[in-house]
């Protein structure tokens, strides 16, 4: 029996909103299993050794080199970043020659990583790399480096990726990354090449474009004459071409990588079609002195950071890793099917312990109001727990089953109250420390509770407490 492949209409996949890098969620969590995956977060450049495990010839005179770190750790980076590699071009006993190469693999497959090198016959390093780097070779590396990368979270995730020649390598990393992740995205790739057979990764790009409805790939053949049967675009980048492949370029983030001349033209054209300066991200693959100096600075900074971090880890690895998410402040949790979790509306209710008081001194017991030392307060009552009322300046001892309001009022703490059933909220106060058990009936909002408020009329103390009343 012969089964025929037929075209059946299949509806679009159902996706969460926007795109979020996996480490973003990991870094946002403080405990539990996700915390163990912190090593995958691309938080800083490091110096490490890596072993070549595979070489893959690509179209257009390029070669992909697959590496793994010698220490067994994954390489954490962001799609679009590069590594700096020391190549012993002049032999093992001579100073190596440093070169930076964009990572072409996806950080979502971090156990190995790729660079893709175009051999430039006039160059010193690239022909040597093609000739000499083979599985088994170990190289010194510094990375990841570079600000040219996809954002960690983007609920819009609309991209125009422009690549010329070898500029496809970081773009390829981005495409592979997006393809490997869930989430809504809208990606247009426009890839300029010099000859019809010279587009690296074109088979994989064609495959991704055919199975991933989020990704569209266009090729253009520069200013060369078109060979017979060429169905793609031709000519250098123009505003009309950008309009043709991405009529909504104006609403996209643009990532462009290629030779200097190409990128300078791209910058002008993008402005012309209405792309905002701040939406354009560029990586130069060849540049003027200025650009090269900037790259050197970037690398020097990366080397400094790598050294600093290595020292800190050597001192106390435990402390170091635990401090990561806050220390870097780069990561924000907060995505669900609808997008961001927290809408940052108007400031609604904040706790201000220094808010003006309606009464001064109140009961006249103990210290001046605002005194922060509860140990000098008078203590009244009996019970196993101590409640310190800071404004009144009194310590009240209670048992865990007593409602805080009654005891406090009896001791002369002025807390207004009405229903005494957790309903009206009149007795709401702020707890500065300690835990309560509260059985309210709608008199207080979850947000207020999060902000440290509670209703003493329907609460009992679980621990010693300090209360702003």
């Amino acid at each position: 029996m012969i089964e025929l492949l037929t075209e059946t209409a299949i509806s679009e996949p159902s996706r969460i909103r926007g795109l979020e890098m996996p480490w973003n969620r990991v870094m946002g969590s403080t405990e539990g299993p996700a915390g163990a995956a912190r090593a995958l977060g691309p938080w800083h450049p490091q110096e490490f050794m890596a072993e070549c495990v595979e070489t893959v010839p690509e179209a257009g005179g390029m070669m992909t080199f697959v590496f793994r770190r010698c220490d067994g750790a994954p390489l954490a980076f962001r799609a679009g970043q590069y590594v700096n590699i020391a190549f012993p071009v002049n032999g093992e006993d001579q100073d190596p020659v440093d070169r930076s190469y964009s990572l072409s693999s996806s950080p979502t497959q971090p156990w190995t990583f790729n660079i893709t090198v175009k051999s430039d016959p006039a160059g010193l390093v690239s022909p040597w790399v093609h000739e000499n780097v083979k599985p088994g070779m170990v190289l010194d590396m510094l990375g990841p480096v570079g600000a040219f990368h996809l954002p960690d979270a983007d609920r819009r995730a609309r991209y125009l990726l422009l690549a010329a020649g070898a500029g496809i390598t970081p773009i390829m990393s981005m495409v592979r990354t997006i393809h490997s992740l869930p989430g809504q995205a809208d990606v247009v790739v426009l890839y300029h090449g010099a000859e019809a057979g010279g587009y690296a990764f074109h088979q994989e790009l064609a495959y991704i474009a055919s199975v991933d409805s989020r990704v569209k790939v266009f090729y253009s053949l520069g200013n060369r004459s078109k060979p017979e049967g060429w169905e793609w675009l031709s000519g250098r980048l123009t505003a009309a071409m950008i309009d043709q492949v991405a009529p909504d370029a104006n609403g996209r983030q643009v990532y462009a990588c290629g030779p200097e001349g190409y990128l300078n033209t791209a910058a002008e054209l993008l402005k012309k079609v209405g792309v905002d300066d701040t939406s354009i991200n560029m990586e130069f693959f060849s540049g003027d002195r200025q650009t090269l100096l900037e790259y050197q600075e970037e690398l020097a900074l990366a080397a400094d950071i790598a050294e600093e971090i290595a020292e800190e880890i050597a001192d106390s690895a435990q402390d170091y890793y635990e401090s990561q998410p806050t220390a870097f402040g780069l990561y924000e949790p907060g995505y669900d099917a609808e997008g961001t979790l927290t809408a940052t509306g108007l400031p609604l209710e904040t706790v201000d312990p220094d808010a003006p008081r309606s009464e001064d001194g109140s009961s006249g017991v103990g210290e001046e109001p605002g005194s922060s030392d509860a140990s000098s307060f008078d203590t009244v009552g009996t019970g196993s727990l101590t409640l310190s009322f800071m404004r009144t300046g009194i310590n009240v001892r209670v048992d865990p089953d007593e409602h805080i309001l009654e005891v406090a009022q009896r001791a002369g703490v002025r807390i207004g109250a009405n229903c005494k059933e957790g309903m009206c909220g009149s007795c709401k106060v702020v707890k500065l420390s300690g835990e309560v058990e509260m059985n309210h009936q709608g008199g207080i909002r979850a947000r207020e509770i999060d902000a440290g408020k509670f209703l003493p009329c329907c609460s009992t103390a679980r621990t010693d407490m300090v209360i702003d009343a």
Binding site: N250, D276, S279, G345, L346, C419, G425, G442, R445
Partner: protein
């Protein structure tokens, strides 16, 4: 025992009408003799009795715009909305829906919530702590010794509400006009793509204009005076309100630029499936509306001097910043401009016959960061300036209407929407008085 008959509960203790019958007849006559195509007679702008009729017939009967969902993003958030003698609480409930309650305690009438906006659980009157649930039920009133006190009889009075595309409308009539739902169906598809539920307030401005609310609305319905808006003129084509055939020679070039910008905007809208056609039913339905998506000058993105975006984060799932302005006018008290990067809402709340609160709210994407994605001064500049200029125009007119020398003047062709607003107003009041 005898039971009172034929007396509706809510008529208890009320005067039969806010106005004596003869005065009502006199006012009805004024409406009767309104000269079409001309501005209203002076008392419409200056007389307290007519203001009272406006509150009764317009603000007491029709759907009015109160706030946007961005003003009460979370359960428990509320705004209070005051107009004429009314004060309403618009409260986001736990279902994500909105409750609208009269802000009048059922004990002795005190205002229950005194802030313009905030967040609350139950609603507690500050006077004697009568406590209402978010839906208005009286759930607590301390009643020592009371034996016959039935809490069930003293809930806060409720009003009707509708949330459409993130805009919240309220109606205090017992039976709201039915065609608002049809009007909603007209504007919802225009506005929904901007997704107000994912926006936040960048800035809100409250201005008290020394003018009757109708003058505020009239002023907004024409651009005949737009020479007085130099900042706005950078964005709005000065040909706004004109049509082929009535373009003065000095504006022909602008008219061509306008037409070209409009046709490329329309092409873009078709590409993204955004409606742009003009729907104009300002006085041909009870819930009068005008809506369209129109091009802006310059880059066509926003109300900035060069037409470029003022916030770098696109709203909703919009794909393009160059979407001009989707502008809506709703009778009787609101207008809106929805751009790709931000939204501006305008709400008009009458205070008395010669004062009006104009509330302007600038909304940006809720993940847009001030100072990074937008500069607050730049974001608000054009409309802050324009509002001040409009305030001055309205106040000039109010002064004029108070002069014995004032007599109604003709609305010009380009002011046909002003005429439509006045015509709508006159019809609605007449229906009410009939």
């Amino acid at each position: 025992m005898s039971a009172p008959v034929n007396v509706a509960l809510n008529s208890r203790g009320k005067l039969a009408s806010s106005l004596p019958a003869h005065q009502r007849a006199e006012i009805a006559e004024l409406f009767e003799f309104r000269r079409a195509g001309y501005s209203l007679d002076a008392p419409f702008y200056t007389d307290r009795s007519i203001f009272n009729i406006d509150m009764e017939a317009i603000f007491g009967q029709h759907w009015i715009y109160a706030a946007s969902v961005a003003e009460l993003p979370e359960p428990g958030d509320y705004v209070t909305v005051d107009y004429g003698p009314y004060s309403l609480i618009v409260l986001r409930n736990d279902d994500g829906d909105v409750n609208v309650l009269h802000n009048v305690c059922r004990h002795r009438g005190a205002r229950v919530l005194t802030e313009a906006a905030g967040s609350t659980g139950n609603l507690v009157c500050g006077y004697h702590s009568w406590t209402y649930s978010p839906s208005g039920d009286l759930i607590h009133a301390s009643a020592p010794g009371e034996t016959k006190f039935d809490k069930g009889c003293f809930g806060l009075k409720r009003a009707h509400s509708r949330m459409v595309a993130g805009l919240i409308f309220v109606c205090i009539a017992d039976e709201p006009p039915a065609d608002f739902d049809e009007t909603s169906k007209i504007f919802e598809p225009y506005l929904a793509p901007h997704d107000l539920s994912k926006t936040k307030i960048a800035y809100q401005q409250n201005i008290i204009e020394e003018g009757n609310w109708k003058l505020v609305m009239e002023n907004n319905r024409e651009c005949y005076h737009c020479d007085g808006h130099p900042e706005l003129a950078c964005s709005l084509f000065p040909t706004w309100g004109l049509t082929d055939g009535v373009i003065p020679p000095h504006l022909e070039e602008v008219w061509d630029r306008n037409k070209e910008a409009q046709s490329s905007l329309e092409e873009r809208c078709r590409r993204y499936g955004l409606p742009y056609e003009v729907v104009e039913e300002l006085d041909t339905r009870v819930a009068g509306i005008r809506i369209s998506r129109e091009s802006l000058d310059g880059e066509g993105e926003s109300f900035s001097p060069d037409g470029r975006r003022l916030s770098k984060k696109l709203l909703g799932d919009l794909r393009d910043f160059r979407l001009g302005r989707c502008s809506m006018h709703l009778q009787p008290n609101s207008w809106f401009h929805f751009q790709g990067d931000h939204v501006i809402t305008f709400a008009v709340f009458p205070v008395n016959e010669h004062q009006t609160l104009v509330r302007t709210t600038w909304l940006v994407a809720d993940d847009a960061e001030e100072g990074v994605d937008y500069d607050l001064e730049k974001l608000t500049y054009t409309w802050k300036q324009t509002n001040l200029q409009d305030k001055a125009f309205v106040e000039l007119c109010q002064k004029g209407a108070s002069s014995p020398a004032y007599e109604p003047g003709p609305y010009m062709k380009s002011e046909y929407q002003v005429e439509a607003f006045i015509n709508w107003y006159v019809q609605r009041v007449q229906e009410h008085l009939a």
